[in-house]
Amino acid sequence: MKVKVKLFAYFRDNRFLEDFRDFPDGTTVGNVVDGLNIDREEVGVLMINSRHTSFDSLLKEDDILAIFPVVGGG
């Protein structure tokens, strides 16, 4: 299945801004994070299709997965 992966802040360093990637069925959000060598401890927010999600969520065709480090502001 094709999934669009978007990265933010310093997660982009030496990786990418956004990328369409192929994953086998049954891939979880956590699998994608691990596959990018991103430390789960550094992940602040995960969203699939603009809704908050968790490492355990299963991805499906055409999902947009956004991965943010811990950030804040206001």
Binding site: E42, V45, F68, V71, G72
Partner: protein, 575 residues
């Protein structure tokens, strides 16, 4: 040195240094300004008349070496909202005012003639002098002129032309450590200062120092406190990307108000994002990190240069960039930066004014996306005080009323900031119930709704939002009394050593034995004091509502409306 109340009366041109009444002794910052305004200002008064007062108060910890303690609160009755108001900002004034032994500066009355004045605060008290040279001048010229006119590097508190013209979006500016500007932005308190005909205030403590009741305990508590701030990952991200790191995440969540609050995502988000800003600042030789006041260990501010490498603006915040960017559909960061600088110079709140431009664009005064047009109108109309300039300078509600626009994002006539309450519902409760009109900083539910700080509450459901907003508004009122920057809250929500260390700091400073319960009670007392003032000014629970369009215009991409009943909103006050 013992803290005193400094008072200036512009009706009879007298000044006084008074003992601190017992009821005020435990207060600082917002708690003190709201206590004084509630005690001394008739809630029915005209905000720009002689019976309103303008109160400045450093926080309880300002003037000490405590990390991040340099916020100055300013209070009064707001000409924008008609409610009680407290606006706080950074810069050097809070620290130096506290070192003068000035627990609060109260400015009251009104001059009988049309002369302008300046005030000078020193440990001996306040003096009044007539001012002529700087009248009509922008804030940057005021700072530059005073840096050569005045000795001993005083803190400077000033208003621009907007404050002189008593525009309801006028802010109060405070010089930062590098001669830039920090703003006590919201609610038009610059117009109140203008109504007192005070152009600027200098603060010069000389060698005066604060008394610390238990210096050793203070040092130990400050080590723990500062470490909890520095160690928190949000503090680190704030240093690297500034508050503007939020553009992309709020956009992704579908809560970035766009095109005068008609969409929840902005096509040009990447061009105005914190990531792009960070790269641009580095390329052009600006400064990624910058502190708005001495002693800040987070350093979320920055210096943004133009394409030629010259400083364009500093303190370039998410709220301003969202408002002039997404809300006005301007996707050129340089245009937004120039507008930011112009607003600093004129002395208008960059949220209120930019949202007013969004409404003006909907009214057809200029096209959405016309950043150059915004800068031209700021220079030629707002700064000059033309008819159109005053309509915009009086805020988003003013533009809506003048041009017959129905979609006007304000609560109690104050512009709604950078999070759409339809898709981030907790912040809608804060906008509705805040004692001061729409203001995200009153109870920043974004932390928990979006950023997973202090837990997680789904932004798109109603469950838990009222309680979240209530707890945050109570905590915020207390933090706003300490002189601490609100960004300590990220660490306080997640690190269990942070808040006890903060309380230890207050106890060591004054020789007290406050507990966490006392701090919660302080927050509740402040909210109730402010609400009582508003009730006496004529506000009811029916004013605690969002504009109609939030209830019946679904916001893409989630296509949701704000769906709290009046009763649900009112339950906020059940404490």
């Amino acid at each position: 040195m013992k803290d005193k109340i400094f008072r200036v009366n512009l009706t009879d041109m007298t000044t006084a240094v008074e003992e601190v009444p017992e009821a005020w002794a435990g207060h600082g910052g917002r708690g003190l300004t709201s206590t004084i305004v509630a005690a001394e200002v008739n809630p029915a008064c005209h905000p720009l008349g002689p019976n309103n007062k303008l109160v400045f108060a450093p926080g309880l910890l300002s003037g000490t070496v405590a990390a991040n303690s340099g916020r100055l609160s300013v209070g009064g009755k707001s000409p924008l909202t008609g409610t009680i108001k407290e606006a706080n900002g950074g810069g050097t004034a809070a620290q130096l005012m506290a070192r003068c032994g000035c627990k609060a500066l109260i400015i009251e009355g009104q001059p009988a003639d049309d002369k302008w004045f300046s005030l000078a605060v020193t440990p001996e008290g306040v003096t009044i002098e007539e001012e002529t040279e700087l009248i009509g001048k922008g804030n940057f010229e005021v700072l530059e002129t005073l840096s050569s006119r005045l000795e001993n590097k005083p803190a400077i508190i000033t208003i621009g032309p907007a404050g002189e013209m008593k525009m309801a979006a006028a802010n109060i500016s405070i010089k930062d450590p590098d001669g830039g500007i920090r703003s006590n932005g919201r609610g038009g308190l610059g117009a109140v200062m203008g109504s007192k005909r005070v152009k600027f205030i200098s603060v010069t403590p000389g060698d005066a120092k604060l008394d610390i009741a238990d210096p050793e305990a203070f040092k130990a508590a400050n080590r723990t406190f500062a470490k909890s701030l520095v160690d928190h990952p949000v503090s680190q991200a704030l240093g690297q990307y500034g508050t503007n790191v939020l553009v992309n995440i709020i956009n992704e969540s579908g809560g970035l108000p766009t095109k005068n609050f008609t969409q929840g995502q902005f096509e040009g988000h990447e061009k105005i994002s914190g990531e792009t800003m960070h790269d641009t600042i580095k390329e052009r030789g600006g400064r990624v990190k910058h502190n708005c006041h001495p002693g800040c260990v987070i350093q979320c501010s920055q210096v943004y240069n133009d394409a030629d490498g010259n400083k364009l603006t500093s303190g370039f915040e998410y709220e301003s960039i969202w408002a002039m960017g997404a809300d006005c559909c301007v996707d050129n960061l340089d245009h937004i930066a120039l507008a930011d600088k112009l607003m600093d110079d004129i002395g208008v709140d960059s949220i209120e004014t930019s949202v007013a431009f969004g409404v003006a664009m909907e009214a057809g005064i200029l096209e959405f996306g016309d950043g150059e047009g915004v800068c031209r109108i700021l220079k030629e109309e707002v700064a000059a005080g033309t008819g159109l300039g005053r309509v915009i300078g009086n805020g988003a509600g003013s533009v809506g009323r003048t041009y017959g626009v129905a979609r006007v994002p304000v609560v109690k006539n104050q512009a709604i900031p950078a999070y759409d309450p339809r898709s981030i519902k907790g912040i809608g409760i804060t906008y509705a119930t805040s004692t001061q009109g729409a203001d995200h900083t009153m109870g920043y539910t974004i932390a928990t709704n979006i950023l997973n700080v202090g837990g997680a509450v789904d932004p798109l459901t109603k469950e838990g939002q009222v309680e979240l907003s209530r707890n945050l508004q109570i905590a915020t009122a207390a933090i706003d009394s300490t002189g601490m920057c609100l960004f300590i809250a990220f660490a306080a929500l997640d690190n269990e050593e942070c808040l006890p260390a903060l309380i230890d700091l207050i106890n060591a400073r004054f020789g007290l034995s406050l507990t966490a319960d006392d701090v919660v009670n302080l927050g509740k007392y402040i909210l109730k004091t402010e609400r009582e003032f508003n009730e006496k000014a004529g506000f009811t629970n029916l004013d605690d509502r969002l504009p109609e369009f939030f209830y019946n215009e679904p916001l893409p991409p989630h296509n949701v409306v704000f769906d709290f009943t009046g009763e649900e909103i009112d339950s906020f006050w059940d404490f």
